[in-house]
C-alpha cells in the first residue's frame, strides 16, 4: 500500500487538522468529538443543515460546509459511519432556533447512528427532522435488502436544502424539499479499479486489468455485474439506461446531469463521459438544463464515475442556482 499518510489510524484526524489550518475563514473544526461547522454557526433563525458519514468520500461532506450548503458535517472513520455523540453535538452547535435537518445516506450504520443522535438532540431541546437519501438504482429496493444506497444525489440535496435554509424556509419546508429531491433523482456508478482503505491495506475487491464493475457503491460494495472494458459511450449507456428507466425520466423533462468522479479518474475523462451522457439524453428528448462535473463524492482512490440525474422544476432550479460559499463548492452571487 502506498499512501500519503502518517499512520493508518490517524488519517481522519490529521486531515481534519489540515482542514482547520487551511479553512479557518470558513469553518471551525472540533476534533473530539469530530465535526466541522460554519465559522458563523449557529445562524439565528435559519434551519441548520447537518450531514455526515464515513470519511474517504471527500470533498463530501466536510467540503460542503459553508454558506448556502451545510452548517455542519460529521466525519466518521474511513468508510465507517460517525457516532451519535458527534452528530448530537454538531446539531446543537448549528441550532439557531429554527430546527435542524439531518441529511442521511441510506446505509444501515448511518441511519441507526443518526436515529440515536436525533433522540439525543431532541432530549436537549433541538427540533430535528431527518431525510434519508437512497438514489442508487444499482441496488434492488425490497424488504429483503437494506434498500438503495445514498450516493451522488446527496451532494445535490445538500446544495438545494442549504439554499432553501438560507431563504429562511421552515424546517418542515426544507425537509419537504429534501424529500422532493430524493423522489426526483436517481444515480448509478461504476468502477475501473478498487479502493484501498488505510486500515486494511488491500484493495476492497479484485478487478482484472481489463475488467470494469457496473453498479458499484462508494465503499467498494459489489455492483450489478462485471464485464470487459469498453468505450465510454457504452459505459454511459449501461449506467444511464437504468437511471432513466427507474424514475422514469421522460421526453420533455428538464434535468440536472451530474457526472461524478470516484476519486481516481481525471477530469478529462469525466468530460468525455459528460459528452456521451448529454448525447444520450438529447436523443431521448430529455433537456439538460443544469450540470455538475467533477469529483464530489469519491471512494478514496477508486477510478470510475457515477451518473446522477435530477428532474428539475422552477423552484429546484432556483435553489440550485442560489449562491454558495463552501470549501469545495462555490456559486457566485
Amino acid at each position: 500500500m502506498k499512501k500519503l499518510i502518517n499512520a493508518a489510524d490517524e488519517v481522519v484526524r490529521d486531515a481534519l487538522e489540515g482542514m482547520a489550518l487551511a479553512h479557518s475563514d470558513r469553518v471551525r473544526v472540533n476534533l473530539d468529538p469530530a465535526y466541522i461547522v460554519r465559522a458563523d454557526a449557529p445562524v439565528q433563525g435559519k434551519v441548520g443543515i447537518v450531514s455526515g458519514g464515513g470519511s474517504g468520500h471527500e470533498p463530501m461532506h466536510g467540503g460542503f460546509v459553508g454558506r448556502g450548503m451545510l452548517d455542519a458535517a460529521c466525519p466518521g472513520e474511513i468508510f465507517t459511519s460517525p457516532t451519535p455523540d458527534q452528530m448530537a453535538e454538531a446539531t446543537k452547535a448549528v441550532d439557531g432556533g429554527a430546527g435542524v435537518l439531518h441529511i442521511v445516506k441510506n446505509y444501515t450504520g448511518d441511519v441507526m447512528n443518526f436515529e440515536m443522535a436525533s433522540d439525543l438532540a431532541r432530549g436537549e431541546g433541538s427540533e430535528v427532522a431527518s431525510v434519508v437519501i437512497n438514489d442508487d438504482v444499482a441496488v434492488e429496493d425490497s424488504l429483503y435488502t437494506a434498500g438503495r444506497r445514498g450516493v451522488g444525489l446527496t451532494v445535490i440535496a445538500e446544495k438545494i436544502c442549504g439554499a432553501a435554509a438560507e431563504e429562511r424556509r421552515s424546517l418542515d419546508e426544507v425537509a419537504d424539499i429534501c424529500r422532493r429531491v430524493n423522489d426526483q433523482g436517481r444515480s448509478m456508478g461504476m468502477a475501473l479499479t478498487a479502493p484501498t482503505t488505510p486500515a486494511s491495506g488491500q484493495p476492497s475487491f479484485e478487478l482484472g486489468g481489463d475488467e470494469i464493475e457496473i453498479g458499484i457503491g462508494i465503499h467498494g460494495e459489489p455492483g450489478r455485474y462485471r464485464e470487459a472494458m469498453r468505450p465510454a459511450h457504452d459505459v454511459v449507456e449501461r449506467l444511464t439506461t437504468p437511471v432513466v428507466e427507474d424514475l422514469p425520466f421522460e421526453a420533455g423533462d428538464n434535468v440536472l446531469a451530474f457526472v461524478n468522479g470516484m476519486g481516481g479518474t481525471p477530469l478529462v475523462e469525466l468530460y468525455v463521459v459528460y459528452r456521451d451522457l448529454h448525447r444520450f439524453l438529447e436523443q431521448r428528448g430529455i433537456n439538460v438544463t443544469r450540470n455538475l462535473i467533477g469529483s464530489y463524492i469519491t471512494s478514496l482512490e477508486m477510478a470510475g464515475c457515477s451518473i446522477t440525474l435530477l428532474r428539475l422544476d422552477d423552484e429546484l432550479t432556483r435553489l440550485w442556482d442560489a449562491p454558495a460559499d463552501t470549501i469545495a463548492y462555490r456559486v457566485c452571487g
Partner: protein, 213 residues
C-alpha cells in the same frame, strides 16, 4: 450463585480480549460480505470501553453496563456501535441499581438487551445478523433457568447455542446491512456480527461461569 459488578467487569475485559484475538477473523468475514471494518471497529470500541471501567464507581451493575454501552456508541461507529451500545444500555437499564444478579435476573437483563438490538436494527431471525446468535442464546438461558440449571451451566449452554446460531448463518442469504446488497452471493459466508455476538456469550461463560464453579 450470582454475578456481581466485579464479575461484569471481568466479562467486559474477557470480551475485549476475545475481540482482539479474533480481530483478523472478523475483518476477513466482514470483507467477504460487508465492508471489512467490523474487527477494527469492535476492537477500537472495546478497548475504549474497558479503559472507561477504571474511572467508574464500583458496585452498580446497571451503571457499569450503561457506561459500556455509551462508550461503544461513541467509539465504534458503523452499525455495530448503535447495536452493541443499545444492547449494553438496555441491559443496564434492566439491571439499574443491582449489586448482584442471579440467573433469573441475568436472563432478564440479557433479554432486555437483545430486545433493544431487535428494536434498533429491525432485523428478524434468519436475516443473517447478530440476532441469529443472540436469540438462541437467550432461549438457552431461559430454558436453563426453567430446568433449574446452575449459573455456570446456563452460561455455557447459552454460549453453545450462540455458536450453533453463528454457524447456522453460513448458508443464509443476508437481508439486513451491507451484506444484503450481495443477495444470493452472501450465502456461504458466516455473518461477522453473529461471530462477535458469539464471542460475547463465550466471554460470559468463560469469565462468569468459571468463576461460579
Amino acid at each position: 450463585m450470582s454475578i456481581d459488578d466485579a464479575a461484569v467487569r471481568d466479562w467486559m475485559r474477557a470480551f475485549a480480549s476475545e475481540v482482539e484475538a479474533h480481530r483478523a477473523e472478523l475483518i476477513r468475514q466482514d470483507s467477504a460480505i460487508g465492508d471489512g471494518d467490523h474487527g477494527a471497529n469492535m476492537d477500537r470500541g472495546m478497548k475504549k470501553a474497558v479503559q472507561r471501567l477504571d474511572g467508574l464507581g464500583d458496585g452498580d451493575i446497571g451503571a457499569t453496563l450503561k457506561a459500556m454501552g455509551m462508550a461503544l456508541v461513541s467509539s465504534v461507529g458503523g452499525a455495530a456501535g448503535p447495536l452493541y451500545g443499545t444492547f449494553f444500555m438496555q441491559m443496564g437499564a434492566k439491571a439499574a441499581g443491582a449489586g448482584e444478579l442471579d440467573l433469573a435476573g441475568w436472563t432478564e437483563a440479557v433479554e432486555a438487551g437483545v430486545q433493544g438490538v431487535q428494536a434498533r436494527g429491525k432485523a428478524e431471525p434468519g436475516d443473517k445478523t447478530m440476532l441469529d446468535a443472540l436469540l438462541p442464546a437467550t432461549d438457552a438461558l431461559r430454558q436453563a433457568a426453567d430446568d433449574g440449571a446452575d449459573l455456570g451451566e446456563a452460561l455455557r449452554r447459552a454460549a453453545t447455542a450462540a455458536q450453533e446460531g453463528m454457524e447456522a448463518t453460513i448458508p443464509l442469504v443476508a437481508r439486513k446491512g451491507r451484506a444484503s446488497y450481495l443477495g444470493e452471493r452472501s450465502a456461504g459466508h458466516q455473518d461477522p456480527g453473529a461471530t462477535s455476538s458469539h464471542l460475547l456469550l463465550k466471554a460470559a461463560a468463560d469469565a462468569l461461569g468459571a468463576q461460579d464453579s
